[in-house]
Symmetry: C2
């Protein structure tokens, strides 16, 4: 057996910021060296940030990534970090001279490199390209078919990238056939609420299959609609978890491994698991290290459901605001629960000094609206102000005749315009407060309550909104702190307060019926018949799915927000706006119009 | 040789409207029968509409498509159309029992069927799945590997789908090896301005390669951001064009073909052009038809550039409005050229009765703004009204302090909110009037001039806006009609009129510099160095690409509009919002902030 001390650099990066990302790798590599690591692994595409989307189709971008990688190798050696083997993700380029119609321009690859002694000593390109859900990698990348095996202190180490681990066969099978002792998997794997416990068992299974230990390093942080949770881990070849990192925090996770001494000399084309790849070998050091005392490795306990979701939303808000160089946010505070949740998330993400909340009462606002909103601002120490909307609404009513929904929408748009004006005047990012139940049913006003730069809870169903607020208050109480959210805001019946005495329940089924129905229809793609078979009332099914089918235009116009479920609205679910497909049997004459922008 | 009379049904369909689309096929098949056709071909996925996007991941949707196909076969026979061979596109399902992570749920296929005698006699599934530009077919479909050869009146006929023709090798090579006499290609091929003349030569080349005549039938009509132009054609095995349909109109194009009598009996796996597919055979009728006198076939002359673009935009507006069941539109008319163009397009698409235009002057509007706008409304007979924005702006200024850009944006948002209010109150679809040069540079106000349901000229650069207006006026004059657009609107210097004496040229380079620069940077993906080498001034390059790089958030919030260029903003260009990638060398401190929603 041979020992290796391995560091997993579970770090954040910024898409496109090659200079800043190189600094990140340099600084964390230095920490790994200080902790005595022989190998440090960074996440997928750490140099470019992930996912860079269409940027990779620009030749100048790929060239910048390649130059950054070469520069980084030299810089690490200059900084005294030439002895450690550094595994980093970057955007490479296939040397293939076979451009074809539809192959991505410039033949970019989702690549990993091993840096050592001032040089790039090995390169790998992702073999399994995911092209489902939020992933479009057939659009962006050309697959790789070469597997580098690097001998480091007498251990054969190879690297693969994210999806390579999730698919059966492919590089992990080839790595097994090549007899490696350690597989280093670089990941950009987004958080998903119901997939909490998928990664650990998967990593264990692959380790057992390949007979090699597995290092799984994941990025952490928010990138537009994606939020990465870290949760990096190490398993031995028996499938036992040796170390596991935290969620939602950067960390250098260090673990000492006992690995089989390398003996195999397999090289060239290897067929395994239905895949043929070319194995290449690089020897950095043949000899095993002298025996040393292993260090303690951390195994972080998993978070509970609400704590994990809370962490995702806070991380997403912080990432979006800071990476886009904002220093403050503004949002409307209605006294209701949705805006209370968004304000609290923003405060947890950015601190109270950065959060500006505005009460915008109308003649139909209830008395408690403004007092509950003010109560929340006071509890959390947020900047509070009030803008009455009546003068603006009256100005319109003096100019045009508006009734019913048009008048309701006008009030919401006066509020949206007020927030955007404050955003423009003071440089705050405007946060939108709509939840997923509203987004699904189109129960919102375009350019009104949907106006803003980021929508923190657009993938949070209303039932989970309540659950999260109650959890946050209880968690504060358990720590001996005052609950940040007024009980009044949690307990009152939901209302948009756009007409006298209005309640959500006038237009929507109760949320304890609506949310499970939306989950079945949107997340699980059940059809009308299956929904009715599953026990939902037929009339409710028809009513709700008609609303969902007709609201695609509004959803497309919504600002980005963090995806936490399997089928978030946004890049995860791509439906035509112009569509007459209706799950329900008989479209009625008064069916809501697709693409009609009203509440 | 053997004769066949072939009909190309160049028709429109509506995504998701299976019942309506079945009616379309039935009605056009009857016309083909009346004209004596032996075979009629419909476009790609005519039964479901194209592209149906994530709808195909719903099992109930695929099932509905399969049922519609079976029902259609029976109905055609019942209606006396059982003798003609009908080639239709639909959404099929792979029988493959090998689901894997990331394979599209339910294994949908982009399929074609041959209907005859009340039955589905042959099925084909698209082999080459495009996954670039606007296409995401790896996300949606499983490829097919079976090629049906149908013997009809002694001629061997096969079918392929769209991309199958564009890629080298694949089904067309296999069809050649199988000795077919006629290839029927079903298409959903969107219009692109600079690809005017690509299809004809491609069809001719494939026909010569395969030694078979080729029928290329394309759909026509608008579908969200895509607009299909028809332009169906038939070439003989020597590559000569025998018939060509119009653009922007539905048509049954009829042509008589002299084809080789079938002799080959190839069946089972065939390898050709690097592809192995299984050839299947169906015999409908072995004997050639008695000789008959061929009918005259139309070859429509190609349209000029402006006429083709005009047709695309009018078709897109008409399609979006009608398919979404609107009957009227509303837009703001500023007296400037952009809104003049959009109003004229809407009038050409829907007729003057359906177009409502609103003048919304402010204290900084020039005198000619309102008179030029009114002049246009009068020339075209549109509904004209005026809403002064001062009372609403003043109401805000009484409530919050707003200066500079915030005040400019407020005016645009008051106009946007006014149009949305009229849209909600009267059921008009609101049209947005921004052009591609504005969209590229972020020179617009979120929820202001960008508010609306459809953006007809979002892919039209400002230079082309002028060109189209001048062409439309000249075309009217050539027909002896009054020019619809006031010369004043065409000739005045462009201005947003949001502050005293403001001109576009205060903030943007002149459009004769800006538009070629945008074309090089956005369409052709040139990097900073290449732009400067190409002769653009370095300072202008840095200024413009900084604006483009920073405006992604605004572009994402823009309503859909027809794509006419190679890299339209929208589904064609997918960039991260959160990105620090800057082509220019040195980001400056006052660089516009990404995701900051201001003008």
């Amino acid at each position: 057996m041979a020992q290796l001390r391995v560091g997993l650099a579970q770090v954040d990066s910024i898409v496109g910021d090659l200079t800043g990302n190189v600094d990140v790798v340099s600084s964390w590599t230095r920490q790994a060296v200080e902790k005595g690591c022989h190998l440090v692994a960074f996440p997928e595409m750490i140099l470019t940030g992930y996912p860079p989307e269409d940027l990779v189709l620009r030749s100048s971008f790929v060239q910048a990534s390649l130059s950054a990688l070469e520069g980084l190798a030299g810089r690490l050696a200059d900084e005294g970090c030439g002895e450690i083997a550094v595994f980093v993700g970057y955007c490479g380029r296939s040397g293939s001279p076979s451009p074809a119609l539809g192959r991505p321009a410039g033949e970019p690859q989702n690549s990993a490199a091993v840096l050592h002694g001032g040089r790039v000593v090995a390169r790998y390109a992702k073999h399994h390209l995911p092209n489902y859900g939020v992933f479009d990698e057939f659009r962006y990348f050309v697959r790789g078919d070469r597997l580098p095996v690097v001998r480091l202190h007498g251990v054969d180490v190879t690297t693969v990238i994210c999806e390579d681990l999730w698919q059966e066969g492919g590089p992990v099978s080839v790595a097994c056939a090549a007899g490696v002792g350690l597989v280093v998997c670089l990941n950009g794997s987004p958080y998903e609420r119901d997939k909490n416990d998928v990664r650990g068992p998967l990593a264990a299974r692959r380790a057992v299959e390949s007979g090699a230990a597995l290092v799984y390093v994941n990025t952490v942080g928010g990138q537009d609609e994606l939020v990465f949770d870290g949760d990096s881990l190490v398993v031995d070849s028996g499938g036992n978890v040796l170390a596991r990192g935290p969620r939602w925090e950067q960390e250098l996770l260090v673990v000492d491994l006992d690995l089989p001494a390398a003996t195999a000399e397999v090289i060239g084309p290897v067929e395994a698991g239905g895949t043929t790849m070319t194995v290449e070998r690089v020897v950095l050091s043949e000899r095993a290290l002298p025996a040393y005392e292993p260090a303690f490795a951390r195994i972080v306990e998993p978070l509970g459901d609400e704590a994990a979701v809370w962490g995702a939303l806070v991380t997403a808000v912080r990432g979006y605001v800071r990476k886009n160089r904002f220093s403050s946010v503004v949002l409307g505070l209605s006294g209701g629960i949705d805006s209370a949740l968004v304000a609290t998330l923003a405060c947890d993400a950015l601190g109270p000094e950065a959060v500006h909340v505005v009460g915008m009462p109308s003649e139909w606002s209830s008395d408690h609206s403004i007092t509950d909103a003010q109560d929340l601002a006071k509890r959390q120490g947020l900047h509070w102000s009030v803008v009455e909307i009546a003068p603006m609404v009256d100005a319109w009513l003096g100019a045009v005749t508006l009734t019913g929904l048009a008048l309701e929408n006008l009030q919401a748009r006066v509020r949206g315009t007020t927030l955007m004006a404050l955003s423009n005047e003071h440089g705050h990012l405007a946060l939108t407060t709509g939840n997923k139940s509203e987004l699904a049913t189109g129960f919102s006003t375009l350019y009104g309550d949907s106006a803003g730069g980021f929508a923190p809870i657009k993938d949070v169903p209303k039932s989970l909104v309540w659950q999260l607020c109650r959890w946050r208050n209880a968690d504060a109480a358990a720590r001996g702190e005052d609950p940040p959210i007024p009980e009044n805001s949690i307990d009152k019946p939901p209302s948009a307060e756009l007409s006298p005495g209005q309640l959500d329940s006038d237009r929507l089924p109760s949320y304890d019926v609506l949310d499970p129905l939306l989950d079945a229809y949107v997340e699980r793609d059940l059809g009308r018949c299956e929904l009715i078979e599953a026990g939902f009332d037929a009339e409710t099914v028809d009513r709700v799915i008609a609303m969902v089918d007709a609201a695609e235009f509004k959803r497309r116009q919504y600002p980005p927000g963090p995806k936490i479920t399997g089928r978030a609205f946004g890049r995860d679910r791509r439906l035509p706006i112009t569509s007459r497909w209706r799950e329900h049997a008989a479209p009625t004459a008064d069916e809501p119009e697709t693409a009609r922008p009203d509440r």
